[in-house]
């Protein structure tokens, strides 16, 4: 364990020298967190990749479907769900590397969330949260009875589903949770003039990570399940340096958070505006770019 921890701190220190850091954290890196982060990127069309969080080259997953987005690893990391926008479009579920995937839903949701027992998935579809049993039984629209325009579900180990609600063309959106049977709707985050989006439950279901800000300038925050104790993890966007941080995903230990960052990445004299997969300790501090050395960057991480 010490070896892994030392390696992690050395890598984080190197990233600090290259990319600049707010401060140095000493968060421990635990063995379960070493499992690869899965994300999507453009490489001759949309494709799925995995990258080891301790450092190493991203690897493209060999998946027969095409136009692949929104990967979601199951809680134990043994299965992978994703959306294919190809000819046989829909939601697919397969092994952790994407192999053997079979279509479980026809349609294109905005996000996929696994139930804690891995028997169902929740999807954001046309402003509703739809629960899809993987045994082929009937789907359930759990937001049908509440006044929300729901998207981007995340399913907690305590059987609550977080989602964001944004009316069409509104520039603000709120973050809600609801019991997985569709009861007990609660407003968790509402900030006037800003979007709260992309909620993600911590593995123990006690906190939520989410993005907050206007489109084009958002940061990652965490908050208690009841909406209290809101903490900022990534800095205020700054012109030229600033970034749009979205789509947080917790490490299995709950000690780290991966997210996607849109930013101006410079190498020597050349800079490009792109998306990368970043990670930061849940206490904040060093932000490490996991995909900086790779031409395709990345978005939509799942850990």
């Amino acid at each position: 364990m010490n070896g892994i921890r030392t390696q992690a701190m050395r890598l984080l220190g190197a990233a600090c020298v290259v990319a600049g850091c707010d401060s140095v954290t000493d968060a421990p890196f635990e063995q379960p967190d070493a499992r690869p982060i899965v994300y999507f990127a453009i490489d001759n069309g949309w494709a799925l990749f995995s990258v080891p969080p301790l450092g190493g080259a991203p690897r493209r997953l060999t998946v027969t479907q095409t136009q692949l987005i929104f990967p979601a690893l199951s809680p134990d990391g043994s299965r992978l769900a994703f959306v294919s926008g190809g000819d046989a479009g829909g939601v697919y579920v397969g092994a952790a590397d994407g192999s053997g995937a079979e279509r479980v839903y026809v349609g294109r949701p905005d996000h996929i969330a696994w139930s804690p027992d891995q028997t169902r998935i929740a999807l954001g579809v046309d402003g509703e949260i739809v629960v899809v049993p993987l045994d082929g039984s009937a789907t359930d629209t759990i937001t049908a009875a509440v006044e929300v325009h729901a998207s981007y579900p995340s399913w907690s180990s305590r059987e609550r589903i977080a989602f964001t609600s944004r009316a069409p063309f509104s520039f603000s959106s709120d973050l809600y949770t609801i019991a997985s049977d569709g009861s007990d709707l609660r407003l968790i985050v509402s900030v006037e003039g800003a979007e709260a989006r992309d909620p993600a439950w911590s593995p123990d279901g006690s906190r939520l990570a989410f993005a907050l800000g206007l489109h084009g300038g958002s940061a990652i925050f965490t908050v208690d399940a009841n909406g209290s104790d809101r903490r900022r993890l990534t800095p205020e966007p700054q012109w030229g340096f600033g970034s749009t941080d979205l789509a947080p995903a917790w490490a299995p230990s709950g000690r780290w958070i991966a997210f996607q960052r849109e930013h101006l990445l410079c190498s020597g004299a050349d800079c490009e505006n792109r998306y990368d997969i970043m990670m930061v300790a849940v206490e904040g501090g060093v932000v490490r770019n996991l995909t900086a050395e790779h031409p395709w960057g990345g978005a939509g991480p799942s850990w």
Partner: protein
């Protein structure tokens, strides 16, 4: 004195009337942004875009311009000192050192500075989200999200009568280099005529 803002200089490329505009952000001694090299001959919109990275130590600034689109151009560097509000030094454009003096570009604010978000669309909606950030120092940002397309870009803005003109850092070819919205009492308005002859009006409200 911060470098944050928009800086303009004359530069001798084809004629003495060519110009180089820098839009700079500064943080912890690092500089990021973009540059627009405008040629005095050719089409009015003929311009080369560069990404900008660099560093600052006290009043001394070193800026590298690279990764061009538009008219192919070699990378170049600017080494200058910030003195009395001027950024004066040399550039090695075309491999020949020449003096260059940047002045901060003034902007008539007219109350247009702020953050504007797309709040309504008439006709068929084109975008899901669109945010225009107008900073008082002449810099801007633009983020637009459409159902199957989107972009985020740094920008420079100017006023032309009732119009707010954004010159966007078109670092890839599918990002428009210019955009214009009409400034109304409490809104920015863009009208787009589609190929089928219909018109879409997008309205932005100030949110910050």
């Amino acid at each position: 004195m911060t470098l944050n803002g928009v800086w303009g200089a004359r530069i001798k490329l084809v004629t003495d009337a060519d110009s180089l505009t820098l839009a700079l952000g500064e943080q912890d001694g690092q500089i990021r942004g973009f540059a627009v090299l405008r040629h005095s001959i050719g089409a009015p919109e003929a311009a080369t875009y560069y990404s900008v990275s660099g560093s600052r130590t006290d009043r001394f600034v070193e800026i590298h311009l690279g990764a061009t689109i538009g008219n192919p151009s070699p990378p170049m560097a600017v080494r200058a000192a910030l003195t009395w509000g001027l950024l004066a030094g040399t550039t090695d454009l075309s491999g020949v050192a020449q003096p260059i003096e940047f002045r901060r570009s003034a902007r008539a604010n007219d109350g247009v500075a702020g953050t504007w978000a797309l709040t309504s669309t008439t006709g068929t909606p084109l975008a899901i989200r669109d945010t225009i950030v107008v900073l008082a120092d002449g810099r801007g940002r633009r983020h637009r999200e459409e159902p199957y397309y989107g972009f985020g870009t740094l920008a420079i803005w100017t006023r032309n009568a009732d119009w707010l003109v954004l010159r966007q850092f078109a670092f890839v070819s599918d990002i428009p280099s210019r955009d214009s919205v009409r400034v109304e009492a409490n809104a920015l308005v863009r009208t787009t005529r589609l190929f089928d002859g219909t018109t879409v009006t997008e309205t932005y409200q100030r949110v910050q």
